[in-house]
């Protein structure tokens, strides 16, 4: 018997054990400060490159600097949706509580990233195109992404039974994944006012190296931020949903 225990304990990290809220809660608490430090470091470096290293654009002057938050926020809005859908799908298939809570914790961050993408896009479109908003394929599909996030949040909030809310939300999240390639390829598939991809996986980027560096640093900053905030929210959701569990009652912060 003890041999079996030794075998399972000898793994570097026991992933299966980590999927239980009681083991994940303290681990997440230790990880949060690390991700906040990384957010700050990438953020400072990214802003410095955005404003003091990247040269002025030949066509758009200083106004192009909005790119340094617009593009990373748009990337994150799509990426977070995919991660959220994967967690929701895992929760649906394996019926694990923590996966569903992760999906629930990520939705508001994704919605905010989508909002930032649309907002900065409007404030970039106005001086460059002369319009705050146009019903263009890229903009419209990104707006639908915002509605998908809000729909996911509202649907989960409207169902009292948390496990049923998880299932309904997961199905909505998985169906909504179809929108992600539509956003990504919209500038190729349709004639849009929105410019094509500035950074592509298949060809070298059509921009100065320093501009690319600034965008990547800001994207890393947003990424680390999303993990930090996601972990913070998932810890709160764990406490709310597991409030009757013994391990929650034994926590130091509760017994004060």
């Amino acid at each position: 018997m003890s041999n079996v225990n030794n075998f399972s304990n000898s793994r570097l990290i026991n992933w299966f054990k980590l999927s239980s809220p009681s083991t994940f809660y303290p681990v997440a608490g230790k990880l949060i400060p690390i991700f906040w430090i990384l957010t700050a470091l990438f953020g400072i470096a990214g802003l410095w490159v955005s404003f003091f290293v990247a040269p002025v654009d030949a066509v758009q002057g200083q106004g192009y600097r909005i790119i340094f938050i617009h593009v990373p926020a748009s990337w994150m809005s799509m990426f977070i949706y995919l991660v959220m859908a994967v967690w929701a799908g895992l929760g649906l298939v394996f019926n694990t509580r923590l996966s569903a809570m992760m999906a629930q914790a990520l939705a508001p961050i994704g919605a905010w990233m989508t909002f930032i993408s649309l907002w900065t896009g409007a404030f970039w479109g106005k001086p460059m195109w002369g319009a705050w908003w146009v019903w263009d394929a890229r903009l419209t599909s990104e707006l639908i992404l915002l509605f998908l996030y809000l729909g996911f949040i509202a649907l989960q909030a409207s169902i009292d039974n948390p496990r049923r809310a998880d299932k309904a939300g997961a199905i909505l999240a998985l169906v909504g994944v179809v929108n992600i390639p539509i956003i990504y390829f919209s500038v190729k598939w349709w004639n849009t006012l929105h410019q094509g991809a500035s950074v592509s996986l298949t060809k070298s980027p059509a921009m100065a190296q320093t501009m690319l560096l600034g965008m990547l640093l800001m994207a890393l900053c947003f990424w680390m931020y999303a993990i930090a905030v996601g972990l913070m929210r998932v810890r709160t959701i764990i406490l709310e949903r597991e409030s009757h569990a013994d391990w929650v009652r034994q926590l130091n912060e509760v017994r004060k």
Binding site: R65, T236, L239
Partner: protein
């Protein structure tokens, strides 16, 4: 690149657009963790009250 702080703030005439974008982005990124912290405090306080009530119950039954 920038010769004076005023020139930096003016952003080559795009001040409204650049600073509205970065300002709102900054505000959103700050509101998020603050609202989670407030929500976390609410649940912790409720759990503490439950814990206190349990202790009263135990002392009462002794």
């Amino acid at each position: 690149m920038w010769n004076s702080p005023e020139e930096f703030l003016a952003m080559g005439g795009y001040a409204l657009y650049v600073w509205s974008s970065f300002g709102v982005c900054m505000a959103v990124l700050l509101i998020e963790p603050l609202s989670i912290r407030a929500r976390n405090r609410v649940i912790i306080r409720r759990l503490q009250q439950v814990h206190l009530a349990d202790q009263f119950d135990k002392e009462g039954s002794n």
